[in-house]
Amino acid sequence: MKKSLKTSFVASLAAFVLLGFAMAPAAEAARGGGGGARAAGGGGGGASRQVNNSSRDARANNVRNTSVNNVNSSRNVSRDVNIDRDVNIDVDVDHGHGGWDHDYHPVATAAVIAGTAALIGSIVYSIPPSCVPINYGGMIYQQCGSTWYQPQGAQYIVVNPPY
C-alpha cells in the first residue's frame, strides 16, 4: 500500500515534469519574434536558449560595486574604498577591471553622452555598420564614434566609454 502510494506519487510527479517540459517550447515560440539570433556556440552549460533582457529594469545596471572572485588579485589591493553612500558615486570607476563574471558593463542611468542622442542604458537591436569592435577587459564592445555599445545576447546596450 505504502509502496503503491509512493510510486503513484512519483508517476504523477513525472507527469507534471513532463508537462512542464512539453509546455516550455510553446512558451518559447510564443515569445519568439526576433528568433534566429540565438547566441552562437552555446554548446554545453545548458545556456543555449536565447536570453532576452528587454524587460530588464534600467536600475539593474546602475552598479556601484561588485564582488571579487580572486584572493590573489592586484585588484583587491588597489581598489578605491568607495562606501560613501551620500555621494552620487561614479559607477564607472574600477569596473573595467572586473572579475571574469562581471560581464555587465555598469551604466549611469539617464545620462546622455556628449555629442550624441544615445541614452546610456538604452537597448538597441542593431548598430551602425561603421562601429569598430574592441576587446576591453575581456569583453567585446562596439565603438561607434563617441557612442559605445556592449552586446547583450542579440541586443546591444549603450554604455559609458569603458576607458
Binding site: A39, A40, G41, G42, G44, G45, A47, V51, R59, A60, N62, V63, R64, N65, T66, S67, V68, N69, N70, V71, N72, S73, S74, R75, N76, V77, R79, D80, V81, N82, I83, R85, N88, I89, V91, G96, H97, G98, G99, W100, D101, H102, D103, Y104, P106, P133, I134, N135, Y136, G137, G138, M139, I140, P151, Q152, G153, P162, Y163
Partner: protein, 258 residues
Amino acid sequence: MIPKKLAPALALLALSLAIPSVYAQTAPAATVQPTGNAVDPASIEALKNMGAHLQTLKRFQVSTELTGERVLADGQKLQHTAAADLNVYRPNKLRARMHSSRSEREIIYDGKHATLYTPAQKYYSTVEFTGDLGELIVKLEEKYAVQMPLADMFLWGTPAASFDKIESAMNAGQDYIDDDLCDHYAFRQANIDWQIWITTGSKPLPRKLVITNRSDEARPQSVSLMEWNLKPTFKDSVFKFTPPKGATAVELHSTDKK
C-alpha cells in the same frame, strides 16, 4: 515565584554558568582564548600544502560555478551566476571557457600566443606571450584587465600568492562539499574576508571559495564551487586556436594606453 518544574533546570543552568568561570580562575593557562585577529599558523600551513599540491598537478580539468553579487547605487544587491571550464597542461597550456546568460568567452594559451575568443560574434584577439600559467594570469590582469577564472588555483604555491597580507587566519572546522570531507578555513586580509574548503588528507584540493568584499558596506560576496578531474582525456590540440571561418581579429585594449 519560580514554577516548581523549572527550579531544578534553573539550578543546573546556574551551575553550568558557574563552572567555566571557576575553571578559568583555577587554570588560566589551559583556556583557549581567541586572541583577536591572530593568524593561526596551522591554517597558513594548510594553504601552503594545498598550493604545493596544486603545483604538482600537470594535466587536469577544473570547472567552477560562481555566484557573484553586484551592488546597485542604493545598496540593493543583485546576484548573478557564471560558470567556467578549464583544460590545463602545465607549465604553459590552458584553455578556459567562461559562460553565463550574458556571454560566452574563451581564453586559449598554447605557450606562445594567448587568444581571447568570443564565439557568438567570432571575434578574437591574440597577443604573443611566453611564460607559465601563473605569469600569464598576472600579465592578463595587469596589462589587459582580463581576469582568468580560478586564477588563485594557479597562483597558490607560487611567489605571486603571498600569505604575508593575511591578518587573521582560523580553522572553522570540517564540512562536506558534495561528498568530500573538507577542512574549512577563514581569513581576513586588506579589504576582503575569505573562506576556503579544502579536501582533507594528503592530496588537498580546494572545493569551495567564498570571498566577501569589505570595501563596500553592502559587502558583495562571491561563492565559487570547484570540481576537479585529474584524469582528463582532452587532446593537446585543444590548446591551439585557429580562427574559424568568418572570424574577425579585434584589438585587445591595453590598460597602459589611454
